[in-house]
Symmetry: C2
């Protein structure tokens, strides 16, 4: 991994993940090459942005035929993917947890949701969408057994703060938190707080801005 | 609304939404004032960032006692909220659609999910979490009747592209798309594409980066 550039901006990482998903779908449909402006059009951005992102990861293309889809997929994967598999646990197997599991594990990605935790007796001991559901009390022990390194927090918001200590104790390295309580962790643990309310309020704000400028 | 600054960066809008949620929860607990570094700590950012965001919206505070919680809530609301209510529809009332509805409508916000659309006969004609579910075929007509101005796309990914034309025809102004197909709309329609896979891949990447720098 020595020659992989670091310090890539967060937004570029997001777009690389999105490009790869598009490229994988192109590849499935037998498309071997794609121009930067086509890739840009699919993602609603400019070709300049696409080229800038790919330059940041040191990728340049045969401009006559466009980017080689397969090579670009491999290149992006080398940036994004870990060499070891990453096992993810869902903390809170309600509607959101189940939606994420179902959606995510159908993709055949390197990241895999391999366990779920809840306190609902109807769920514990069962498999839900192919993922075993354990009692939250056993989280720390199971995290070690199952080599879990990331968690998705999709519990009720009230419960979320009580999950911080178990997450730290379990040696979890990355947290994606969907509740509306921002969670803080010591350095060394990556956390992304994504409250869906914020996303909706943001769209609503830009709708309002559009109206004001119309 | 004449004196509300426009051109506020997207990230600031996100943070304002997050600050407000924290402030509302402070207010509920009887907290009347809050210092910028306390607000910053809760959100895992610096006090400088908080002050910069609030300066951008023209808010300055009594620094001796900190920010007045109630006044700051009103100030942020003036920036974020629309004067008219915004009705949101869920397109795809599966696990994700239901999770968003349940979570969002319990908050008592100005934005409200008032309708859902699906093609599952078991759901159509029923109320789910207090929201009536209609057949997707009736979307354009219902959108006018119910004054819908935003949609959340939580349908299966395959279905998402077929929703673009109905969304345009229905006069929808803002779209929050959770499927893994990026959707493009003509100018004047705000769209945010939020694929949960991207969020997880981003966290995984920064975990890897952390390991490399450790």
């Amino acid at each position: 991994m020595a020659n992989i550039p670091s310090g890539i901006p967060e937004k570029t990482i997001e777009r690389l993940s999105e490009y790869r998903r598009t490229l994988l779908s192109c590849s499935k449909r037998g498309i071997t090459h794609i121009f930067s402006h086509v890739l840009a059009g699919i993602h609603g951005i400019t070709a300049v942005q696409v080229r800038r992102d790919l330059m940041l990861i040191g990728f340049s293309s045969d401009t006559k035929k466009g980017y080689d889809v397969q090579i670009l997929i491999e290149y992006i994967s080398r940036i994004l993917d870990s060499e070891t598999p990453i096992n993810i646990a869902i903390l809170g197997m309600g509607h959101l947890g189940q939606a994420i599991t179902k959606y995510f594990n159908s993709k055949g990605l390197k990241l895999k949701i391999t366990a779920a935790f809840d306190v609902d007796p109807e769920k514990i001991g069962r498999e839900i969408d192919g993922v075993p559901c354990y009692h939250m009390n056993n989280f720390e022990q199971k995290a070690e057994e199952l080599d879990l390194s990331m968690v998705v927090v999709s519990s009720p918001t009230k419960v979320a703060p009580s999950l911080v200590v178990p997450i730290i104790n379990a040696g979890i390295r990355g947290v994606l938190n969907f509740t509306s309580t921002p969670l803080n962790f010591p350095q060394g643990i990556v956390v992304e707080n994504y409250d869906i309310t914020t996303l909706l309020e943001k769209v609503a704000y830009f709708v309002k801005e559009n109206d004001a400028n119309a």
